[in-house]
Amino acid sequence: MLKDITLGQFFPGDSIAHRLDARCKLLLVVVYIAALFTAKGVVGYGLVILATVAMVAVSRIPPKALFRGLKPVVVIIVFTAVLNMFFTTGTPLVKLGPVTITQEGLIRAGAMVLRIMLLICGTFLLTYTTSPIALTDGMERLFNPLKKIKVPVHEMSMMMSMALRFIPTLIEETDKIMSAQKARGADFETGNLFQRAKALLPLLVPLFVSAFRRADDLAIAMESRCYHGGDGRTRMKQLKWKTRDTIAMLLGLALLAAVIGLRRFGL
């Protein structure tokens, strides 16, 4: 059941979106987020939605998978929507005892929900179409200039790729331990929230033990292959900036420019 958490899991494929350079996709996400937060009117939002739909179509990621990715954040979305709905002043629409729902509040809540959902879709498209290795590699290259001011860029990206590498392993491990405890009658599914949280406690001990064991093994394996940091390391898969990356980048910038332009006219 934990396996259903697809949070940012890579979906192997061979679409144009998969083949774009990781650096290009990272920059595009930044541009996309900028456009999303600049958009103000209906036309602006419409443009961003259109761009998102186009990207999903190009990436050939099944929309179902995207919606499943949204599931874990439903709580956050609902929470923001409710807050915005009740705590925005303006023309009152409905009065429910002490709280009033205003027209402005409703619009704002709707816009907020749309924004969060688009934000998640955009970032998930990145992680769905980019393997964790390409992703951290791209980040390392983008942040490379920071090395000049002694930021340990390589070490940070190494840590990140390891973390990404071990998330599925840890989820699998948790699943196994849960199964073993369920086989002896542990109950994770019924009872109130407190009881359920308490049932989770015995999971942590074997999980930490195995995580530390793994970390230890990995450190030994790396050391015995003479790993010594980023200097002079070469890569098996080189990132190459191609014409299609430039085109994608230009399209992204065009979207941002259009949204900024529309905002000026309040659209």
Binding site: F11, S179, R184, G185, E189, T190, P206, V209
Partner: protein, 288 residues
């Protein structure tokens, strides 16, 4: 005899609807009767572990059903949980799943979940520990301080303490030294003879399977390829080898001899049978 556990047309698909979709088992029909000792063999990834996790309701079949004492185990959440006390499952490498502070508490986890009285829990823990040969001095130690073989025994004791009517073990002897293997297999045989429970063992060791099982089930790519007495199953030496499985050493030798033109019967899988067959052959040769 009515079966105690029965699986019907079981099919399980992992990660359905994603690019990682994988049909792990398909069309599995199998029943166990009390007192039976069934060996399950099959190559890596053939669906053995997936199958046995259906028998105590840890996995829900994509289609098909599992019955315990002729009742569907998924008829309600409570029923599923209760079945787990009757169908005890020891996982692959269970030693990584111990979690309590002391050996005693770990073995007591199952009986406590059964809501037994404290004295009953105590009696069961002691009995189970004794059964697998864990000395009393270990009971108050942390399971993490013990050796791999001891941990494995603690895990088995933790399941035996629930006194399941069906005991399922996933590769209980993997990675143990020959002495440790023998002890654990002997414990399992004793458990069956003392309680009359049904036992199902997944194993990669054909000699063990040939020696202890009354019935063998062979998995191949999520289907059951053979199901019968060890004698019947191991008479398919060639087919078994073709699907990448091993056969007991004696069966392998007999097959090698057959390929060199020695006329041996099909049903050889223990050293004694091989010896007898070869002797019979020599007598026959001497006669003419």
């Amino acid at each position: 005899m009515t079966p105690i556990v029965r699986a019907e047309a079981l099919r399980h698909v992992y990660s359905a609807g994603t690019p990682f979709e994988k049909v792990a088992i398909d069309g599995i029909d199998l029943s166990l009767t009390a007192g039976q000792l069934v060996g399950v063999i099959g190559h890596t990834g053939s669906g053995k572990s997936t199958f046995i996790q259906h028998l105590n309701g840890l996995l829900k079949p994509t289609s098909g059903a599992v019955y315990f004492e002729e009742q569907d185990i998924h008829r309600s959440k409570e029923a599923t949980r209760d079945v787990r006390f009757s169908v005890g499952l020891v996982f692959q490498y269970p030693e990584y799943q111990l979690f309590e502070e002391t050996v005693y508490k770990d073995i007591a986890f199952g009986p406590k979940n059964m809501k037994l009285s404290e004295s009953e829990v105590d009696a069961r823990v002691k009995e189970a520990a004794h059964f697998v040969g864990l000395p009393d001095e270990l009971m108050e130690l942390s399971p993490l301080e013990l050796s791999g073989g001891q941990k494995r025994r603690i895990a088995i004791a933790g399941v035996i303490a629930m006194r399941p009517k069906v005991l399922i073990l996933d590769e209980p002897t993997a990675g143990l030294d020959p002495g440790g293997c023998r002890d654990i297999l002997q414990n399992i045989l004793d458990y069956r003879s003392e309680t009359g429970s049904a036992v199902l063992i997944v194993t990669h060791n054909m000699d063990d399977a040939a020696r202890i099982a009354d019935r063998l089930v062979v998995f191949n790519h999520g289907h059951i390829a053979f199901d019968g007495t060890p004698e019947a199953v191991f008479s398919h030496t060639k087919e078994l080898m073709d699907i990448g499985l091993d056969v007991p050493q004696s069966a392998r030798i007999a097959q090698a001899l057959r390929e060199r033109g020695v006329a041996l019967p099909d049903s050889i899988y223990t050293p004694d049978q091989l010896f007898a067959a070869v002797q019979a052959l020599r007598k026959g040769a001497g006669a003419c």
